[in-house]
Chain length 416, copies 2
C-alpha cells in the first residue's frame, strides 16, 4: 500500500465504532503503511486539517485492546454533510489539498447513511476530476438501517444492551406485582426504523417473561388499540412491560411524543424538543385507568454501553474496518464493506464490498416477516436473525472498579 | 438453631438484595435449619400465607450463584407498612399464627427504612406479648440512607452502575463537541438524600474528564447559579455533562421537576407524576441559551443493573444476610446487621448488630464534608469513602448472549 491513510468517524456513535478504527489501523500497518491518521471530529475537523497520528495511541497492542473497549467515537464525530459539488468545488478541493499535504492516498469513513453519502460524493468527485485517491465506507449504525449489508456493526451491541436492560427492568417491575401491576413503558431509539425496538423481543427466555408488547414505527400507532391492550394486560398480569420506539406515529402523522408537546418549551430556534414517547403514554394510562406507571428511556446508553458490548459485534466492526483497507489496497474505491451471512446456525458471516451509490441515503426498515400480525409483536424469524449478533462478551479492563477507556488528546483539547 | 426460618424482601429492589437471601439461606442450612421459607411479596404476601420453600431453588449451589446474579427481589417485594399496634392486634396475631403454623422461629427482613420499621414493630409486639420468635433486619437500599451502618448493601452496585454509565455518557457527549457543546443533564435517583448522585463523581479519572457539576438535594437548588454555571461551561468546554438528583428543590420548596408540572397530567387520584428534573432543566437551557441539550434519566436501571454489580457489594449483601442468621441463633432480636469499616486502604469491613429502634425511620443525608463549598461538587473525602464499595465484579452467566437469572415460580404465578 503506498502513501498514508486517514480514517474518520461520523454520525451517532456506537459501542463498537472504535473497533472499526482499530481494524483499519491494524490492517494498514500489516500492509506497511507509514502513517495512519485519524480525522479529529470527522470530515468537519479534517477540513480544518485536524489530524491525529494513531501510532501515538495504538502502536502498543494494549492501546488496540482499550480502543475496542472504549465507547463512542474515539476520534470525535460530526454531523457534517458534504455540500453538492456544483458551486462548492472549493470544499472538495480543500479535502484533496489536505490529503496531498499529508500524502494521504486512502480515506476510510465509518458511519451510517449520511456518512456514506460523504464517501459517495468524494469518490464521485475524484472520478470526475481524475484524482487517484481512494475512498471506502465502513458501515456503522445502531439503527441497522443500511441496505444491502446483512446487518450493521453497532446494532448487535445495542441489541444486547437493550435485551439485557429489559431483562433487568422486567425483574424490577415484577417485584411489585402483588396487588396491582405497574405498567412500565420503555422507550427505545429509532425514529424511522424499529430495529432497536425489535431487540426487546430477545429478552424473553426460560428465565424471563419477556415484554408484553412491542410497538415499532413501521406500523401506525393505534392509540385506542394500545389502551385496550394495556387494560387487558393490567387485568391478567402481575407486571406489564411494553417496549415502544421513540418514532411511533399516529394515523394523522403526529409522533406520539408530540401529544404533550404543546406543554413543552421550544428552543431558541423554535424547535419542539422531541422525546418523551414513554412518558406521554405513561401519563395517559395513569390518567385514564388510575394505574401505577413508570416510563423508562434507554437514551444515550443504548449506543454507548460498551461495557456489555457483543463480542460478535466487536469482531465484525474490527473486520469491516480491516477489510476496507484490504479492498482499497486491491484498488476498490467508492464502495462500502458489507456483511454477508452464510449461515444462521452455526452463525457464519463474511464480508464483501459494494457500490456506495446503492447504499448512501437509503434506509432499510424492519421487514414485514419480522413483525407479528397483531402489529405489536416480533416473530421467531427476527429472533433467528438477531440472536447470533448479541453473542459473546469482551470483558472490560476494570481499573478502580470502572471500565478503563482510552482518550484521544486532540479531541479533548480541540480548539474551535 | 431450632425450628424453621423465613426471609422476606421489602421496598425498592437493588442489584444485590438477592445475595442477602442467599446469605440467609446458606447460613441457616449450615446451622441445620430444616425449612428456609421465603415470603412471596414480603410481609404483604406472608399475611396471606404465601410462602416458598427455598430448597426448591437453592439446594444446588448453582441456584445460589444464579441468585447472586439476579436483579431485583427474587421473592417479590412490597410497600406494605405494619399498622400501629393498638387497634390492629389482629394483623400482628396473624403474623404469629402463620409463623406458628410453619414452625417458624426466626424472621429475617431485608429492606430500607420502612422495612426496618416492620422488624421493629414485630419484635416490639413479640416482647410485649411474651412471644419467643426472633426478628432481625438485613440492611438494603440503593439510597444508602440508613443510619449507624457505614453504608448499605445495594449502594455500591448502584454507584458502580452510575459511574460506569456516566463514563459512557461523557464519551458519547464528547464526540460531538467540535463546534458547539451539547449540554447533557443526567438525572439520578434519590429524593431526599444525594448519595446516588454523589457517585457521579467516581467517573472522573485519567481516562475520563468527569462530570462538570453535581447537584444534590442536600443543597437548595439555585436556578440562577445553575444557569450561569451552564453558560460559563458552554463557553469554555467542548462537552458539558451535569449530574442532578431527582430530588433537587428550589428555595421556595418546589421540586425542580414541578416547574413544568402544570402541563403534566395527573393520575386518577389527582397526584402529579414526578420525575423529569433533567428534562425540565434541559428545556430551560435550550429555551434561554439556544444550546443543544440532552436529558438522560438513569431510572430503574440504576437499581437493577446486576450485570455490572460490585463484587464487594454482592459479598457484603451476602454477609449481612448470613450474619443476621448467626446473630439470631445467638439470641439477638429486634436488631439490624450493620457494616463497620475498619480501614479504607486496604478496605476492610466487618459486621455487627444494632438496636433497630435507632435505625428504623431515620434517614442519613450526605454529610457536609462530602459536598464541595460551591455546593455543586463532591470532595475527595467522598471518593475515599465510596471507591472501595464499587470494586470487583461477578461475571454474569451469559446464556444465548444475555445474563441468566433465576425466577421464583410463586412470584410469577402469584394469585391475588
Amino acid at each position: 500500500m503506498k502513501g498514508n491513510i486517514v480514517v474518520g468517524q461520523s454520525g451517532g456513535p456506537t459501542a463498537v465504532i472504535n473497533s472499526s478504527v482499530a481494524g483499519v489501523y491494524v490492517a494498514a500497518k500489516q500492509l506497511g503503511v507509514d502513517k495512519v491518521y485519524g480525522m479529529v471530529h470527522g470530515i468537519e475537523g479534517f477540513l480544518k486539517d485536524k489530524l491525529t497520528d494513531l501510532d501515538d495511541y495504538l502502536s502498543d497492542d494494549m492501546g488496540v485492546e482499550l480502543l475496542k473497549r472504549t465507547p463512542s467515537a474515539f476520534l470525535g464525530s460530526c454531523r457534517f454533510k458534504m455540500p453538492k459539488i456544483e458551486g462548492h468545488e472549493d470544499v472538495y478541493e480543500k479535502v484533496f489539498e489536505i490529503m496531498e499535504k499529508h500524502d494521504i492516498q486512502y480515506l476510510f469513513y465509518a458511519g451510517g447513511n449520511d456518512s456514506m453519502d460523504t464517501v459517495k460524493m468524494l469518490s464521485d468527485y475524484a472520478a470526475a476530476h481524475g484524482k487517484s485517491q481512494k475512498f471506502m465506507g465502513v458501515p456503522k449504525t445502531i439503527d441497522n438501517d443500511l441496505p444491502i449489508t446483512d446487518h450493521c456493526p453497532g446494532y448487535g451491541s445495542s441489541a444486547k444492551y437493550i435485551a439485557t436492560s429489559l431483562k433487568e427492568i422486567i425483574r424490577d417491575n415484577a417485584s411489585f406485582g402483588a396487588e396491582k401491576p405497574t405498567i412500565c413503558i420503555v422507550e427505545i431509539m429509532g425514529r424511522n426504523a424499529g430495529w432497536l425496538t425489535a431487540a426487546a423481543a430477545l429478552a424473553k427466555g426460560p428465565d424471563c417473561e419477556g415484554v408484553d408488547a412491542i410497538y415499532l414505527p413501521e406500523r401506525t400507532f393505534d392509540m385506542d388499540g394500545f389502551m385496550k391492550k394495556v387494560k387487558t394486560l393490567s387485568e391478567t398480569r402481575t407486571s406489564v412491560v411494553i417496549a415502544v420506539s421513540e418514532g411511533v406515529k399516529l394515523a394523522d402523522g403526529r409522533y406520539v411524543c408530540e401529544l404533550e408537546a404543546d406543554s413543552v418549551p421550544v428552543d431558541a430556534f423554535g424547535h419542539k424538543q422531541m422525546g418523551g414517547t414513554a412518558t406521554t403514554l405513561a401519563h395517559k394510562i395513569a390518567a385514564e385507568y388510575g394505574l401505577k406507571t413508570r416510563a423508562v428511556e434507554l437514551s444515550t446508553l443504548q449506543r454507548a454501553g460498551t461495557h456489555i458490548a457483543s463480542l460478535t459485534d466487536i469482531n465484525e466492526a474490527f473486520q469491516v474496518g480491516h477489510d476496507a483497507v484490504v479492498a482499497a489496497d486491491q484498488g476498490k474505491t467508492g464502495e462500502m464493506i458489507i456483511l454477508k451471512r452464510d449461515c444462521d446456525s452455526p452463525y457464519e458471516c463474511g464480508t464483501s464490498s459494494y457500490d456506495i451509490h446503492q447504499i448512501a441515503n437509503v434506509e432499510r426498515a424492519v421487514p414485514d416477516e419480522y413483525i407479528g400480525a397483531d402489529g405489536c409483536s416480533i416473530t421467531a424469524e427476527y429472533i433467528k436473525y438477531a440472536r447470533p449478533l448479541i453473542i459473546g462478551e469482551l470483558t472490560p479492563v476494570f481499573v478502580n472498579g470502572l471500565p478503563r477507556h482510552i482518550l484521544c488528546r486532540e479531541v479533548i483539547e480541540y480548539e474551535k
